[in-house]
Amino acid sequence: MTTSAYLIRRLAQAVAVILIVTVVVFCLLHALPGGPARGILGAQATAQQIEAFNREQGLDQPLPVQYWRYLTRMFQGDLGTSYVFTSPVSQLIAERLPKTLLLTVLQAVIGILVAIPMGMWQAMRRNRPVDYVLTGASLFAYAAPVFFLGLVLIVVFNQTLVWFPSQAPRGTTVAQILQDPAGLVLPVMTGAVAMVAVFSRYMRSSMLENLTEDYVRTARAGGASRRQTVVRHVFRNSLTPVVAMLGYYVPVLFGGALVVEQLFNYPGMGLLFWNAAQSSDYPLLLGCVLVISVATVIGSLGADLLQAAIDPRVKAGRS
């Protein structure tokens, strides 16, 4: 199968998955008893106001009609209007998504930049004291909840050392946020520490597995130095599972973003999703589910393509 055919097939699968997700979420939301009106309008809303709300939002229509309307509008780029924010969902997502992407990309880049050398270093020094120390530390960071890590960083770097603010930048655009880089340090560090803990373990394991492979012995027998063997062969092969993991880690990053966004007062997609779920804001909830579904599909597709680029056997295997 050619790369383009493979891509087309995967994209078609992705669209189907996303549609199924919207159907399931739509049905589940509307299966909730009571409907969203009272929750949105509050305890003081009158029966007339609730009726008007349901009429305006089309909630008085049969479910298939509501879904069809949602679908046709979605394909026109209209995700509806948030009940709570009274703004178009697409506008809210357009404001929040870049902020979360900035946060998660920085976390991922820094996390990977630290985790991969660390995992390699540990593998090369397997079962030495430094390996035990780093393994213990990684397991501790892995086991610690993200909010706990964040609180520790705030206590140390904000309230004790007074190096960085506890509040993330308040800008509404990426450019505005980047004008206050100090404000990003603690939120990025919180997510990055968690990533380092996870990916350094994967890298270490993968390296150890590859170091015992026959091709390593062959390379060394052929005169390659240990350093050359590791850099040219082992490193590349060890990256394959790590890259795959990175793609599947996208939803986890979004989940982690929620905690980081709450703790550091950084209103991004994670927080938007959480608030939408808490307040029965159906259009916003569906919009967030859509974005996360797309991100997950793109993440896994990207991981597959990267794997194929790193390891030609993967490409051959899918045909």
């Binding site: 509050g42 009158t46 709570v84 007062n265």
Partner: protein, 606 residues
């Protein structure tokens, strides 16, 4: 702190690496400052924390129920001063004439009209504020009442028959019948906000200002235009409509992320001249984030949760004062009288008395709420002194005693089963029997759908469960987000499928905040919009109606006493609106029981 430091030292090799990498990448190792706000450093500004998860999303003093929430109103009130402002800024809830456009309201002797006198005031663009601006509001609301968030059928504007301008500073509002002037002023006329007709009386950005608001169609078109402008949050900073204000502050900036900056209105000629030129209203995504901002000095005015009140010293050491902010509110759990299972049981007054006697409000307020709640025994708020509170309610007609509660049930034909839960053993309608509709073998078991997300609420429910169990009443707790609780516990008929709920709790921050005059028309009148449990008592209906029309204060006292005794709901301690943490140099004001903030009243000490 010790634990976290230990944890830190465990990973101290790792954090500097990540910190260095992050900082190098982002900031070129420039470092940073923990002082992100005025934090008491800048005496020209003040930073105020908005409630958790509240993002300001509306500026217009008119709107739908969806947009006219308490916090949006508080912001718009600083920009457009209401005709009549009621607040608790003097310690008691009263008409604050300094913060009102009107200076006098003279009611006709028969109570069927009022003549309002406006102060000699100007808009920020120099135009005078006149009766035409009040008429403009009146026309818009009358023509769009179904869309207006404050509309309750039968009340404003339904109870206003006509608006007559006498001159620029006087007008007469005629009612459809005679009303209690106190109620009319506090709960109806206080809804009016004069709007700048000379700037807003148009149907589009480029349209001419006209008198079209005097026709229903014209008023609807103007309403639509103003509402659409208010929906465009991203355009607030450049929207000319919002530059014409009457309040002590003007809009400095409005971020779609929820950060609002108010700047002093230099043309303000009212009675509450601000002393702090800039007010920063900051949104927070979580209480943790807000408390972190307090601890690092980034806020001048914030809050902590009731469960953290025992950490007050750590804030006073940082230069804050911890001040409970009590609300003009009551807190309760409505019974569902229409529930086919438990409805007949809770319809018996003795059964409700037994339940109420099993709730130890003093302990709940003192222990669970850390002293940040006030026991409430009836429909009138009890955290403040008021002329509305009857002695009967104040004295708690049903003091806590599980023994007495159990004895009361036993005296009405209930007996404990093997598990100690009361079961109706003597069905019938005699005085010593279970009562009408209660079948023999009925188990006294209640289930509450309670608001989730609050440790204090969870603890309160557990305590109530425990004390009810002592009486012999089984009490199950289910939880859901507050929006789901409200959605799932509607007023219903016993035959409808959504009538399966028994008790509802949505009062973590207080169940109901009143207007200045605490009538319970929505709550306890038959068919009231927020009478979720379908409570119905003709005597109470008559008292509520009389309270809005009678000038006799005895009516509301009688209402207070009657509902304290009749128990339409389970009365619970009313928590503070918030436990405020305020920079100790920020002075000169009382926190408003009506849950509004008034930055014009704040000032910095030298």
């Amino acid at each position: 702190m010790t634990a976290t430091r230990t944890a830190m030292s465990t990973r101290r090799w790792l954090l500097p690496v990540a910190a260095a990498a992050t900082t190098a990448l982002l900031a070129g190792c420039t470092g940073g400052s923990a002082d992100g706000g005025s934090g008491g450093q800048d005496r020209d500004s003040v930073s105020y924390a908005l409630p958790v998860n509240f993002t300001p999303n509306w500026i217009l003093p008119l709107g739908t129920a969806q947009t006219l929430n308490t916090n949006n109103r508080a912001i718009s009130s600083t920009l457009w001063e209401p005709l009549i402002t009621y607040d608790g800024s003097t310690g008691t809830i009263a008409w604050n004439k300094d913060a009102s456009i009107a200076t006098d309201a003279e009611f006709a002797a028969d109570g069927t009209s009022v003549t309002i006198t406006l102060g000699d005031r100007t808009w920020s663009d120099g135009e005078p504020i006149t009766a035409r601006d009040v008429e403009f509001w009146y026309n818009l609301v009358t023509a769009n009442k179904e869309s207006w968030g404050s509309y309750n059928e039968g009340q404003a504007p339904d109870d206003w028959a006509s608006f007559e301008t006498i001159d620029d500073t006087h007008f007469v509002l005629t009612f459809d019948k005679a009303y209690n002037p106190d109620w009319m002023l506090a709960n109806q006329l206080s809804l009016i906000t004069p709007l700048p007709q000379h700037a807003w009386g148009k149907t589009g950005a480029d349209a001419e200002v006209t008198d079209d608001d005097r026709t229903p169609a014209g008023a609807q078109a103007i309403w639509a235009y103003l509402n659409s402008a208010s929906e465009a949050l991203a355009d607030y900073d450049s929207e000319e409509l919002w530059t014409v204000v009457s309040g002590p502050y003007a809009l400095g900036s409005f971020s779609t992320a929820g950060e609002v900056v108010l700047e002093e209105n230099d043309a303000y000629d009212g009675g509450e001249v601000p002393t702090i030129p800039t007010v920063n209203l900051l949104p927070f995504a979580s209480s943790d984030a807000e408390e972190n901002a307090l601890r690092s000095g980034e806020l001048d005015y914030g809050y902590i949760s009731a469960s953290n009140v025992d950490q007050s010293d750590s804030f006073t050491e940082l230069g804050y004062q911890v001040e409970p902010w009590s609300g003009w509110s009551i807190t309760y759990m409505p019974y569902n009288f229409e529930n086919p299972g438990i409805g007949p049981v809770v319809s018996q007054l003795y059964a409700r008395q037994a339940v109420q006697m099993s709730v130890d409000q003093d302990s709940l307020a003192e222990v669970v709420f850390n002293g940040t709640a006030v026991p409430g025994y009836g429909p009138v708020p009890q955290a403040q002194d008021s002329d509305f509170l009857s002695d009967t309610q104040a004295d708690n007609p049903y003091p806590y005693s599980t023994e007495d509660a159990a004895a009361l049930l036993a005296a009405h034909g209930w007996e404990p089963n093997a598990d100690g839960i009361m079961v109706c053993a003597d069905a019938g309608t005699e005085a010593d029997q279970c009562g009408a509709g209660v079948a023999e073998g009925t188990v006294f078991a209640l289930t509450v759908l309670s608001q989730s997300g609050s440790t204090v609420t969870d603890n309160m429910m557990s305590e109530i469960q425990s004390s009810l169990r002592e009486t012999g009443i089984d009490f199950s707790i289910e939880t859901a987000p507050v929006s789901s609780v409200l959605s799932q516990t509607p007023a219903c008929e016993s035959t409808s499928p959504d009538c399966d709920w028994q008790l509802s709790f949505f009062g973590t921050a207080g169940s109901w905040y009143f207007n200045a005059f605490p009538t319970g028309d929505s709550l306890f009148q038959t068919g009231g919009s927020a009478n979720f449990g379908s409570y119905s008592n003709p005597e109470v209906d008559a008292l509520i109606s009389a309270a809005t029309t009678s000038t006799d204060n005895e009516t509301i006292l009688e209402y207070s006493a009657t509902l304290a005794e009749d128990l339409p709901v389970i009365w619970l301690p009313s928590p503070n609106y918030q436990v405020s943490v305020i920079n100790e140099s920020l002075v000169g004001f009382q926190q408003d029981s009506l849950a509004q903030f008034h930055p014009a009243q704040w000032s910095w000490t030298e």
